[in-house]
């Protein structure tokens, strides 16, 4: 054996930034995550050249999946142009040479923070969601090892109790984003801080979703055609944000999740949160031939 056999030829940076051992760790753990939908798999999350909490978990999954032919889309809060999305997109392109796109339909791999695009994802697409806190039980149990035992026992009583108390106190479930959801009838997961609007898009979807928390070192996944059911009581149905009737003042798109823009006169206007859908809507109304995919919501209602 020689030193040379132990190491590899020097290169300024590994392809996709991560070294082979980091990639194998991600590969092993994503496979297990897919095998047990919604179950948080601990993994050896590597440090990457980005601060923890800024998408390092999603980035490690993307860096493992990527090859020079992977067309990548990166969004943050629905927007391709958000500074952090721009930063991650630039990083992915720089370490892989992969082409980038803003068009949901053209993407093979979509890394996203806090949104699922409005156009329906296909069965050849992978959505990587950045996860700040992978533990849905954290509000009722901040201790990770106790929470792990609760998942092992499928002990979700306190989770239900918390929802029940909210209904008693406020007349409704007060959970905003990150709505806890039961996956394949067994594990309660956080869908990451996507709005309630987006959670039904995961249920029996055609695409694969990988949720990765770099700082907390956990990966969970929702394979295609998997039940994702928000925790609700039979007599208090799940409610998405009341955005179905809102219209985007810039693009005219109607019936999608919106950003509220406060106005000096005390009122609000709205802009469609999925920025690329806004772009497409504008271009289309200006007479361009634009391919707008089928959307999950039609006329403000989730299509069945």
């Amino acid at each position: 054996m020689s030193l040379k056999s132990l190491t590899k030829d020097w290169e300024p940076m590994s392809y996709g930034f991560l070294d082979a051992s980091a990639k194998r760790e991600i590969r092993r753990k994503t496979l297990k995550a897919i095998a047990v939908p919604g179950c948080q798999m601990p993994y050896a999350s590597r440090e990457v050249p980005m601060a923890r909490g800024w998408g390092t978990g999603g980035l490690q999954v993307s860096c493992t999946l990527i090859n020079p032919k992977t067309t990548v889309k990166v969004i943050d809060q629905g927007a391709d142009d958000s500074v952090n999305a721009a930063s991650i997109r630039r990083f992915l392109a720089r370490v892989s040479g992969a082409p980038t796109t803003t068009d949901t339909l053209k993407a093979d791999l979509i890394q996203s923070r806090h949104r699922i695009p409005e156009e329906v994802l296909r069965e050849d697409q992978i959505l990587v969601l950045q996860v700040p806190n992978p533990e849905p039980l954290r509000p009722v149990q901040p201790n990770m090892s106790i929470a792990r035992q609760m998942h092992a026992d499928a002990d979700y009583g306190r989770m239900w109790l918390q929802l029940y108390e909210q209904i008693v106190r406020s007349g409704r479930v007060m959970q905003g984003a990150s709505y806890p959801s039961l996956v394949h009838g067994r594990f309660v997961m956080t869908p990451s801080p996507i709005p309630r609007w987006d959670v039904p898009k995961m249920h029996m979807a055609k695409h694969l979703t990988i949720l990765s928390a770099g700082r907390e070192k956990r990966i969970h996944a929702v394979p295609p055609f998997t039940r994702v059911e928000p925790l609700v009581f039979d007599d208090v149905p799940y409610r998405v944000e009341e955005h179905g009737d809102l219209t985007c003042t810039r693009s005219g798109a109607k019936g999608y999740f919106m950003n509220e823009i406060p106005q000096p006169d005390g009122t609000s206007t709205y802009e469609v949160s999925d920025s690329e859908l806004g772009v497409k809507t504008i271009r289309s109304s200006e007479g361009e031939t634009i391919d707008i995919g089928q959307t999950w919501y039609q006329n403000g209602e989730m299509a069945q």
Partner: protein
């Protein structure tokens, strides 16, 4: 026209970095050398928290980050993670360390003697303001002792164990590549001993201090006595693929042993880190001393302090709150407004007649 200027974000982040770097000016080899030579304790702290022992890289990271410690450590950690593991160094024992400073608060004198070594502990903290008016501060040379202190010193805990005051921890039989590495596997609880010590070794100094101090003030059950504090250099002994064992050099290390009376025995807390960082190892050893049987969710519980003293994670998460959160905020607003409307509707609806 486009809905958003797609290049806008990229331009903005590029220019913001230029603004930041402009303030630091050119980074040259001279600057790196100056930082390295003038600030050994800062370099040590950075190397310890980065868990990467290289003074030049640490100085470079500090220069590149303009002294922003969290940034510097992240730079080093991100570089470190891409490096292959070529070899494993042989374990070092306390008594084998080349010791510069080793003191005990438990006994007036200890086998091997108290060795004060380099410290500012007894200095009067007065700023040398004359330097600002043009004088050069020239440190007074050291008068060497007639007889130098022995370079190798036994551990105080070993003496205590011989005298039946303390049960030394069982030696861990795990060797070499089988030693769990917290950078290669996730930290789970109850933590492996190696993971605990590694995590404390690379923990953020301020975080360890805050929680260690809380334990020292009374939020822990055990009151630490500094059995021994040691600043030393450790030999990095590796094996060449041909089988030759050789020293690849020395690294500065610090370590603390703290003890507490538990019944008829002393219990021991331990911490060590790369570089010389006394505050960190005393605070970390205090946490280690207190962790056994600490209540869940208390500052001295292992899960609590190991998670919350991880500097790259905690600082990253803290600054991530600067990122836009308008989707989550919008989602909360929707629930709030609806709950408010429900309450208002209820208030205006007359009570149904009996």
């Amino acid at each position: 026209m486009a809905y958003v200027a797609t290049r806008g974000g990229e331009r903005a982040i590029e220019q913001s970095q230029r603004l930041f770097r402009e303030a630091m000016g050119d980074i040259s080899a001279d600057r790196i050398q100056e930082i390295r030579d003038a600030m050994p304790y800062l370099i040590d702290r950075v190397m310890g928290e980065a868990s990467l022992y290289d003074e030049d890289l640490a100085a470079l990271a500090l220069a590149q980050a303009g002294g922003e410690l969290y940034e510097a450590i992240l730079l080093l950690r991100a570089w470190r993670t891409t490096q292959p593991r070529l070899a494993l160094a042989a374990p070092v024992t306390q008594e084998s360390l080349f010791t510069h400073r080793r003191i005990s608060a438990a006994f007036k004198d200890i086998p091997g003697g108290q060795v004060l070594g380099p410290t500012l502990d007894y200095a009067h903290r007065i700023l040398a303001t004359e330097v600002l008016s043009g004088d050069t501060y020239v440190p007074t040379p050291v008068d060497p002792a007639e007889k130098p202190a022995p370079a190798q010193q036994p551990s105080v805990a070993a003496w205590q164990a011989e005298n039946g005051l303390l049960t030394l921890p069982q030696a861990d039989a795990v060797q070499g590549n089988d030693i769990p590495d917290v950078t290669r596997e996730p930290l789970l609880f109850p933590a492996k001993r190696a993971h605990t010590l590694q995590s404390l070794a690379r923990a953020e100094t301020g975080g360890v201090l805050a929680l260690g101090y809380a334990a020292q003030r009374g939020y822990g059950q055990a009151h630490p006595t500094v059995n021994e504090l040691r600043l030393a250099e450790a030999e990095v002994v590796v094996t060449h693929p041909r089988g030759t064992r050789f020293s690849a050099g020395r690294v500065k290390v610090s370590q603390a042993e703290v003890v507490n009376k538990k019944g008829e025995q002393l219990e021991l807390g331990f911490a060590a880190t790369m570089g010389w960082n006394e505050v960190k190892v005393i605070a970390a050893a205090t946490l280690d001393l207190n962790s056994d049987g600490a209540p869940k969710g208390s500052a001295t519980e292992e899960e609590f302090f190991l998670y919350h003293t991880e500097g790259v994670e905690s600082s990253g998460f803290c600054i991530h709150f600067k990122l836009p959160h308008y989707v989550t905020f919008q989602s909360s607003l929707d629930a709030m407004r609806d709950a408010k409307a429900k309450k208002a509707a209820k208030a205006t609806t007359p009570e149904p007649a009996e």
